[in-house]
């Protein structure tokens, strides 16, 4: 195994908290996001007991309404990380009541797209992406607007869930359309706002990668977007962005140069870099083709 990957996996195994989870940084309280990515990164590379201990913690964080809370110190309400909870259920093959309640919560959650004025403009200017409030994605937390990252994560989770939960397709398609309407003029995505006060906003490399994860079953619709993502990969100095881009482009059959940075103390980054490596668990965010749905 490459030193790069080995160093990340060793770091992750070394930094697991006593409660089974991972913090964003060593010695910090456990959060669901780094725990989920660490579990996906070490899957197949670590003793099953390590993963089971982490899963027991994740299970304990599901709330009665089916959502997941984001971390040890946040009692609720549940947030976008519910998509990661469902994702882990699918990865572990646990299609039980916990899985069903998680999927149901995702399907019952959508962003608040626009105020009354924006919805009125959308009604009279259908098809204008700058004023389109007709599609629904997912918010970071309920009661707020949809954004690219939580929408992409929910789309991935529902694609994975679709073989064991019927009736997710329409919602997934609508969310994919939302991601497409949020595309920036340069061909990539930022957090989810393509234009402000009449000025085009630029895309970001990390959110472009996440958008491509959300759109991976629509590769035939993606051309300039993939080229733009490749360009961002060459330009960006952000390790987080390069890791996400490697994962997303890898899912689309596009290879990227393997990373060679020194390991740091960022657990989430280490997990993503491990998954981004050619010998790592690159399929963690890969979804099944449309033919294998329930």
């Amino acid at each position: 195994m490459a030193d790069f990957l080995r160093s990340r996996l060793d770091f992750l195994l070394r930094t697991q908290n006593d409660d089974g989870g991972w913090g964003y940084f060593p010695g910090k309280r456990s959060w669901l996001e780094p725990t989920a990515y660490a579990m996906l990164a070490i899957d197949g590379h670590a003793d099953r007991a390590v993963l089971n201990r982490a899963w027991r913690l994740v299970e304990s964080w599901q709330l009665p309404d089916g959502s997941w809370r984001p971390g040890a110190d946040v009692e609720g309400p549940g947030t976008w990380v519910t998509a990661l909870g469902v994702h882990l259920c699918c990865t572990r093959g646990q299609f039980d009541d916990r899985f069903t309640r998680g999927v149901r919560w995702l399907l019952g959650t959508q962003g608040r797209e626009g105020n009354w004025l924006a919805r009125l403009v959308s009604m009279f200017q259908p098809g204008d992406p700058d004023n389109d409030t007709s599609h629904h994605g997912w918010p970071w937390l309920r009661g707020t607007s949809s954004w690219v990252e939580p929408t992409a994560q929910a789309v991935v989770a529902l694609h994975l869930a679709s073989s064991h939960y019927a009736g997710v397709d329409a919602r997934v398609r609508d969310a994919e359309e939302l991601i497409l309407t949020r595309k920036c003029h340069d061909g990539g995505w930022n957090y989810g706002s393509r234009r402000a006060l009449g000025i085009d906003l630029p895309s970001y490399p990390e959110t472009t990668a996440l958008a491509l994860l959300g759109l991976q079953t629509r590769k035939k619709d993606l051309g300039e977007e993939i080229r733009h993502a490749r360009g961002l990969f060459e330009l960006t100095h952000s390790r987080l962005a390069r890791a996400w881009l490697s994962i997303a482009l890898g899912n689309l059959g596009e290879e990227t140069a393997p990373p060679d940075d020194e390991p740091g103390n960022d657990i989430l980054l280490a997990a993503l870099e491990a998954m981004a490596h050619p010998d790592g668990n690159r399929s963690a965010f890969r979804v099944p083709s449309a033919g294998s749905r329930a």
């Binding site: 913090g23 964003y24 940084f25 910090k28 309280r29 959060w31 996001e33 984001p70 971390g71 110190d73 946040v74 009692e75 947030t79 976008w80 608040r112 797209e113 626009g114 105020n115 924006a118 992406p129 700058d130 004023n131 389109d132 409030t133 918010p139 970071w140 937390l141 009661g143 707020t144 607007s145 954004w147 990252e149 939580p150 309407t181 949020r182 930022n190 957090y191 989810g192 706002s193 393509r194 234009r195 402000a196 006060l197 000025i199 970001y204 990390e206 100095h237 952000s238 390790r239 987080l240 962005a241 740091g264 103390n265 960022d266 989430l268």
Partner: protein, 316 residues
Amino acid sequence: MGLVGVGAGAGILSVEASRSGDGVPESGPPGKSSVAVLKAASYEEDLVARILEGARLCGLDLRGKRVLLKPNLVEFDSATAINTDMAVVAAALQAFRALGAAEVRIGEGPGHRRDTLGLAEEARYLHGIHDFEGVFTDLNRDDVRPVEGFAGERFYFPQSALGADLIVSVAKMKTHHWAGATLSMKNLFGLVPGAVYGWPKNKLHYIGIPRAIAELNRTFRNTFALVDGIVGMEGNGPIQGQPKHAGVLVMGRDLAAVDSTCCRIMGIDPAKVEYLRLASALGHVRESAIEQRGESPHAVRTNFELISQFRNLRLA
């Protein structure tokens, strides 16, 4: 699209005060607030000496205190005036240590970008500030504790912010396309953890930007402001505006008074800035209640260009 719905639910803090002719509530903290305005023509000047002088003029006592410096890191764009300049943060670190603080750390939780350390590297913090990684906390991903009653709800904030004896808002002097201006008070948006509220922290937009600014400043009262106005941003700030040289550092314990002073320097009438009106129970906005130390804000006034929505804010 994206930020549609911004401002929805904007409300007001319960300010029990009569209003004067300029619309600013007359109540506020007792006495006057001191605000120091110090000239600094460039980032190459001795900024440590300027900050020490400002701290002295404001009577700042840091002995034995745990201090958190909160700069404004927004975007990967080292060529513009978007972020608090590294030289100001580095000088503040040195100056506050010299003033006897038990600990001085730096923390930031950017609103849009998740790679906070990458942002800090691009803004030259990583290599320009000695042992930066050793003193830095990503506030978006810090451990958190709940605070009750923030805009009527339970809200979570970083342990590093809640545990600090003093939070220094090391802000940038910028116009803002929704709030009019972004200065030391709005800079506290970076204390809201993305790990709970996301990127962007859209919950604050639904609370209403002016109200959220006021609520943050009501929640965090042990604060001090150091505004980098050496080169600020005018026009379509806080991201897409143009650099504007103002040549000043503005400092003080009363963040409302500091921001009001910055507004006057920028040619903005603070009485017309909604968040300052909402926060006027927390600090002084009226010029007569602010004791200006160092330079007079009128002597260093340089009008910042305002986008059309905010031309009515221009100071007479």
